[in-house]
Structure formats: C-alpha cells, structure tokens
C-alpha cells in the first residue's frame, strides 16, 4: 500500500536538485497529498484508500520529478560560459602554442584553484565540475609520468602511487555523485582526452615529443574546444537523456580527432583502453549512484517496517 512518505521518498530519489529546492518541492507535494487525502476521507474513503487515490492522482513520481527537474536543470548562458571556460583556456593554450609560457600556466592554475575553492563553498553549482575535473588531472598525469622512471623505480612508484591516486579520484567522485551522477561524468570528462593525448605523443624522446606536440597542437586545441562546446550544451540542455547523449557524442568525437592525428602512437590495446575508460567514466557514476542509493534505502526500509 503506497503511503505519502513512500511517494515523497521516491520523488526525492528522482529529483536531483539543489538541497533547498528539493526540500521545498518534497514538503510542498507532501502537504498537497495531505490536503487531498483529507478531502477524500471527508468524502467517505478510508485513510488507506484516500492516500492511495491521492498519490495516484498526483501521477508517477518519476514523471513529476522529471518535469520539476527540467524546470531547474537548465543553466543560464553565463553559467554555460563559465563551465566551458577551463576547456577554452586549455584550447587557447595549445592553439597559441603557449604551453611553455609560465604566465599562462600560472594563470590557468590560479583560475582553476580559485574557481574550485569558490564553487565548493558556494553550494557546488553546475559550473564547478569542469573546473574540479582539472584538479584531478595532475593526479593522473603524475601516475602516467611515473611509468617513464628508469628501471624498477617505475614499478615501485606505481605500486605506491596508483592506490593513493585512485582513492583521491574515487572520494571526489563519490562526493560529486551525492549531488548528481551526471556532474561526476561531467567532471571526469577531460580525463580520456588528456590520457589519450599523453599516449599519442612519445614521451621517451624529449626532442621528438616537443616536435609531435607542436604538430598536434591544433588538433589538441580542437579537442578541448569540442569539450568546451559540449559542456556549454550540457548546461543549457534541460533533459537528462540529452545531457548523457551530449557527453557520449563528445567522447566519440574526441576519439575521432585523436585518430585523425595520423602520427598517433596509440596501439590497438591503447584505443581499446581509451574507449573502455571513456565509457567507464561516463556511465560508471550512474552505476555507483544506484549502488549508493540502494545502500541508503535498505536501513530506511527496515526502519519503516519496524515502525509499522
């Protein structure tokens, strides 16, 4: 038998809004169900029948939650621009061949750190997550660079570093999923791009690496510009399925851009790794989100049973 509490719990599961808005919506719909149940009881229905009818009249919680989500999910053009800005800055860095310019690098670093600190302590708005993603990239990049250490040092460093790096990425991702798993996918979006370009360029020969970087700079800039465009589109789109579609399209587009590089050093295994990684980072947060919600609901169901 559905109860008002079951309905609002279910609604809460699908809403994924700012906590204050979410709480207002849930309280408001709960109050409505109370009024409607009261009216139905006065018309002669039993309490159980009245609750069941009131929740049925309200409509499926998924549907109501989706409609309310779509009211709030669309960011403004300003938010879209600010969310796309870190990718635009990196695109400009490569397009203008400024990757050796300390001032540029320092400017980007300050912008990333400043935006992340500001956004993290100001209710984590949607624009924060692309910036947050850039905070995770050094963690991954260091791991990759460890492979190039001489002799057994590479294995030793990797054994110590990889679990630590994974722990950092996992805990930040888990925190982000609590807000919305789509934001975690948005945050992790540049990782396959950065890893892909790192694999595509030979690191062992420094001279060759610089030469390759110079030659591929336009394509690297193009891939980051595509990232920026996708992030802006993501912020402006209302529907969740369209947001997922935008991120998936981008992953395919980036892989095509890398393949167009021609002189790419990525092997078949490397491509397979990149494709699987892109899919994992895109859809993994959704799976993790489901697991977290299921784990949170178990004690709730038990407490509901015990109070009956």
């Amino acid at each position: 038998m559905p109860t008002k509490l079951n309905y609002t719990d279910s609604l809460k599961n699908y809403l994924r809004l700012e906590p204050t808005i979410e709480s207002d919506v849930v309280r408001e719909l709960h109050a409505h169900l109370e009024d409607k149940s009261h009216e139905l009881i006065e018309s002669g229905l039993s309490e159980e029948e009245a609750t069941a009818t009131a929740t049925r009249l309200m409509g499926a919680p998924q549907l109501v939650a989706r409609q309310i989500y779509e009211v709030y999910s669309q960011g403004s053009w300003r938010q879209a621009f600010f969310a796309a800005l870190p990718h635009l800055l990196v695109a400009a860095l490569f397009a203008l061949h400024c990757w050796k310019n300390t001032l540029w690098l320092l400017g980007i670093l300050v912008a990333v750190v400043g935006s992340v600190i500001y956004g993290w302590f100001h209710s984590k708005p949607a624009w924060l997550f692309p910036w947050l993603g850039y905070c995770l990239i050094p963690v991954i990049a260091v791991g990759i660079l460890l492979i190039y250490l001489p002799g057994n040092w590479a294995w030793f460093a990797a054994t110590a570093y990889v679990p630590l790096a994974l722990l950092i990425i996992f805990s930040v991702t888990k925190q982000t999923i609590k807000k919305d798993w789509l934001f975690a996918s948005l945050m992790l979006l540049p990782i396959p791009t950065v890893l892909g370009w790192m694999l595509a360029l030979e690191f062992e020969d420094k001279l060759m690496w610089h030469e390759q970087l110079y030659e591929s700079a336009t394509l690297i800039a193009l891939s980051f510009a595509a990232l920026a465009l996708t992030v802006a589109t993501f912020i402006r789109i209302k529907q969740r399925w369209a947001k997922v579609g935008a991120l998936l399209t981008l992953d395919i587009l980036i892989l095509v851009i890398m393949a167009l590089g021609g002189k790419s050093a990525i092997s078949f295994g490397g491509w397979l790794f990149l494709i699987l990684l892109a899919l994992l980072l895109l859809l993994g947060p959704a799976i993790l989100d489901r697991r977290i919600r299921e784990a949170n609901q178990k004690p709730l169901k038990l407490s509901n049973k015990s109070t009956r």
């Binding site: 408001e28 409607k36 409509g59 409609q67 009211v71």
Partner: protein, 111 residues
C-alpha cells in the same frame, strides 16, 4: 480532446498568474479555485500544476513563501511579483485581441 489539451497548455501560465494576482494561493487551493471558477471545466492534474508553478517561480513571475496555517500545518503560498504583473498585463492584452479576432471569424454572420 487533443486540441483542448493544446489550448489549455498554452494558457496554463496565464491562468495561474491571473489567479495568483487575485490573491496569493498554495497549490491545492489553486486547483480547487480553478475548478470552482471555471464551473468544473478546468480539472488540473496535480503533477502538471507544480512543475508549472516552479517554472513561473524560476522565471521570476511568482515567488513561493512558506506560511504556517496551524501548529502542524504549513503551506507554500505563491505571490505574484512586479515582473509577473507586467507579464500578466501583456498576456491579457494579447488574449483580448486574439479572442476578439477569433470571435469575429467564428461567430455566425448576422443581418
């Protein structure tokens, strides 16, 4: 039926603004008032009403405020904003012109 639904869809925001302009109301009250004032013609689905109210609030046309009715009851009342009043005045003028023009064509010719 489809035509009627489309007509209602296009007028939902104006109807809500008009009611809230008359007096601040909460969701359940709005449904009842719409039903009463239209002699039962407008049977608003609850699941449609709340997204519409939140859409108006996000657009800055109305503002929701919690009010205590009794010790255990509180309801979220919607108030029209200045921007909402301006939007309503504009919509009413358009509606007036539109309905006059439609009536001129649809009404049977007399004389």
């Amino acid at each position: 039926m489809h035509y009627e639904r489309e007509l209602l869809k296009g007028s939902t925001d104006s109807l809500l603004l008009c009611l809230i302009n008359h007096q601040p109301m909460y969701g359940y009250q709005i449904i009842k008032e719409l039903q009463k004032r239209s002699n039962g013609y407008f049977q608003f689905k609850e699941g449609t009403l709340y997204p519409a109210l939140h859409r108006l609030e996000k657009a800055g046309l109305v503002q929701g405020k919690w009010q205590q009715l009794s010790s255990s009851q509180e309801r979220r009342y919607y108030y029209i904003t200045q921007k909402g009043q301006e939007a309503l005045a504009e919509r009413l003028a358009i509606w007036q012109d539109f309905s006059t023009a439609v009536a001129l064509i649809m009404q049977p010719v007399t004389g």
